[in-house]
Symmetry: C2
Subunit: 345 residues, 2 copies
C-alpha cells in the first residue's frame, strides 16, 4: 500500500511529517510513503532520520513540489494558484491512483477545496464533512461530524452526515449497528433548530439506521452514541472548546498536585500519565480527521500535531484504505437516493 | 434584601433549595428568603434544618404553593396551567416587587416562558438569553451566552447578547472595558455562518464595545475574552459537552492515580481537590445561570445542584440585585436603539 503525504503542512516544518511517516512505516509493514515538498529539504530530513526511525527510510520517497499553501490562504486562492504546491501535487498523486490515500497537516479549507476538485465526491455529496473519533467514557469512542466544513446546513445534509458516519463506524470500526444520534439542545422532539428537527423526522422515517434520536452535548462524552451528527459550526465549537477545556483541566490538575507539598513528587510521577491523557483528549491533534464524502481518502492531521500524532493520521489513512471506505460510501449512499427525498428540505 | 425561591424545582426535592437558601443567608447578613412550595413540606424542612444552618431558619419564610412544574412540561403548557405552582407564584412575588429577585432549579423552558410573562423584558429584547460565567485559565472567567434559550438567531440578536453580556461584565464584575468576542469556526472574517458574519460587521460598526472579533472554541477557556457570544444552540452544545468532558476527565485522572500502586494513597488525598475542580468546571451546576434581558432578576440553578451550588445561585441573585442589573440593561440597551438598526438584519 502506498500513501501520499504533504510534508509541508504542519506548523513545525517537514520534520514532523517525515518522522511521523517513518514511524507509520515501522508500525505497518508493507507501507510505502511518497513525500511531497521541496526536494532538497525532504532529502535532507530523510538523511538525518533519528536512529530509531532510520530503517524506515528506504520506504519513503521524495517527490519534489516547490510551492506551499499558506495557513491563512483562502480556499479560492488555493484553487487558483495551488498548482505546484505540496498539497496539490500530493492530491493529484492520489487522484491519479499512484497512492491509495493522502495525508496533510495543512490549511483545512484549502485541503477541502483542492481535494474536492482533485478527487470529486461520492453519491452526489455536495461537500465532504470533517469527522474524527472523540474519546468517550469507559475507553469508548464516538464519531463526531461535521467539524467545520459545512455551516448553515439543511436537514438533508445532516442526514448525509448521519449516513456517512454510520458507514464509517460500521465498516472501519466493525460495529454491527452503530447508534446514530443528532446533537440538540434538549432531548425532546419540540426543541432545537429547524434543520435539526426536520433531520430528526427524516431519520425516523428512513428506518434503515439505528437512529437513537437527540442527544445533548454531554452525551458525546458519555458514550451514548457511536456517531453524533451536527452542523459544522456546532461541531467545530464543541471540538475546539473541548480541546481548550482539556488543556486547562490538565494544567489545573497538575497545579493542584504540585501546590500540595506531599503530592509534589507524585505530580512529577503523574506528569507522563497526564500528558498521555491530554493527548488522548485532543483527538484531532492525536488521530487526525477524515474528509468524509470524497471519492478518495484524505486525512487531515492537526497543524500542531507531533510526529506521533502525524503517524496516527497516516495509520488512520491505512485503516480506511483497508476497509475500502469510499467504495462503501458510494454504494450505501447511492442506495439512499431512491428511498428518501432529502433535497426537498 | 429579599429573594424569592422556587423550592420545588431541583431533582432531589426541596431539601437542597432550603439548605442552600439557609447557607446563602448565613453568608449574606441581611438577606431574607421567601420559599415557595407545599407549605407542610417546606415547614418540615425548616424545622429539620441541620444544626450548622439552624440559625438561618428565622430568615426563611414559607409561602404555600400547591402545584409543581414538571421537568418535562412544555413551556406552552406551563403558561396555560402553571398558575398555582411554586415557580409561577415565586415569579409573581418578584413581579409584585415583594422580592428583589427569584431563583429556581426547575424546568428551564418553563422558567423562561413564565418569567418573560410575569416580568417582561427590557429595551424591546424579544426573549432573554441564558448566561453563565465559565472558568478560564489563570483563574479567570468569561460570560458565555446564549446557552440555549434562542436557537436560529439573527445577527441583531447576537448583537443584543453582546451588549447584555458586556453590561453584565462591566457592572456586576466591575471590568472597565470587557473584551467581547463572537464565537466562530475560524478567526478570519470570511468564515462562519451568515448571522455571525453579519453580527461581526454590526459590532465593528458600533464602535461602543471593546469588540475583539472572532474567537474559536478553545479561546473560551484560554481566557481570550470576557464575554463570548453565540447562538443558543452552539452555546448549549459547548456548555453541555464541556460538562461531560470535565466529568470524564476527572474520572480518568482519578483512575490513572488509583491504578498505580504508589499513587493510590495520593489518589485518596487528591480526591477532595479533584471534586472541587469538577465543581468549578461545572459552572451552571455550581453558580447558576442568569436569565439576561428580563425586567427583573431570575437565576436558574442547575436541576442537580447540591445545597452549595444552590446557595451560589442565590448569591448570584444577590450580586445582580446590588448592581441593579435590569435597570443598567434598560438604560444601556435603550441607548443602542438610536445608534444602530439591527432589525434590518
Amino acid at each position: 500500500m502506498r500513501i501520499a503525504i504533504d510534508a509541508m503542512g504542519g506548523d513545525a516544518g517537514p520534520a514532523v511529517a517525515v518522522h511521523g511517516a517513518a514511524a507509520a512505516v515501522q508500525a505497518c509493514p508493507g507501507l510505502e510513503v511518497d513525500l511531497f515538498g521541496p526536494g532538497d529539504q525532504l532529502s535532507n530530513e530523510l538523511e538525518n532520520l533519528p536512529r530509531h526511525l532510520a530503517a524506515a527510510g528506504s520506504h519513503l520517497s521524495v517527490h519534489h513540489a516547490p510551492g506551499l499553501i499558506r495557513q491563512n490562504q483562502r480556499p479560492s486562492d488555493a484553487l487558483r494558484r495551488g498548482g505546484e504546491t505540496s498539497m496539490a501535487l500530493m492530491l493529484a498523486h492520489v487522484a491519479n491512483r499512484n497512492a491509495a490515500a493522502g495525508v496533510s497537516a495543512g490549511n483545512t479549507g484549502a485541503l477541502m477545496a483542492l481535494a474536492r476538485r482533485a478527487l470529486g465526491t461520492v453519491a452526489d455529496i455536495p461537500r465532504p464533512a470533517i469527522c474524527t473519533a472523540i474519546p468517550t467514557r469507559s475507553d469508548g469512542r464516538c464519531y463526531l461530524l461535521d467539524l467545520g466544513a459545512n455551516v448553515d446546513v439543511t436537514a438533508g445534509r445532516l442526514v448525509d452526515f448521519a449516513r456517512m458516519g454510520e458507514v464509517m463506524a460500521r465498516h472501519v470500526d466493525g460495529l454491527a449497528a452503530p447508534r446514530v444520534a443528532l446533537l440538540n439542545v434538549g432531548s425532546e422532539g419540540t426543541k432545537g433548530s429547524e434543520a435539526v428537527r426536520q433531520a430528526d423526522a427524516l431519520l425516523r422515517a428512513m428506518g434503515s439506521l439505528n437512529y437513537i434520536g437527540f442527544i445533548e452535548g454531554d452525551g458525546i462524552f458519555a458514550g451514548s452514541a457511536d456517531v453524533v451528527v451536527c452542523d459544522g459550526f456546532v461541531g467545530n465549537a464543541v471540538l475546539k472548546a473541548s480541546e481548550g477545556l482539556a488543556r486547562m483541566l490538565i494544567e489545573r490538575v497538575q497545579l493542584t498536585f504540585e501546590s500540595h507539598w506531599s503530592s509534589r513528587l507524585v505530580g512529577m510521577l503523574a506528569r507522563p500519565a497526564l500528558r498521555r491523557l491530554k493527548n488522548e483528549l485532543d483527538p484531532v491533534r492525536y488521530n487526525g480527521a477524515s474528509l468524509l464524502g470524497l471519492d478518495g481518502i484524505v486525512i487531515k492531521s492537526h497543524g500542531s500535531a507531533d510526529a506521533t500524532g502525524f503517524s496516527y493520521a497516516v495509520s488512520r489513512a491505512v485503516q480506511e484504505v483497508r476497509r475500502g471506505l469510499p467504495a462503501r460510501l458510494a454504494v450505501e449512499l447511492d442506495a439512499r437516493c431512491g428511498s428518501t427525498q432529502q433535497e426537498q428540505w
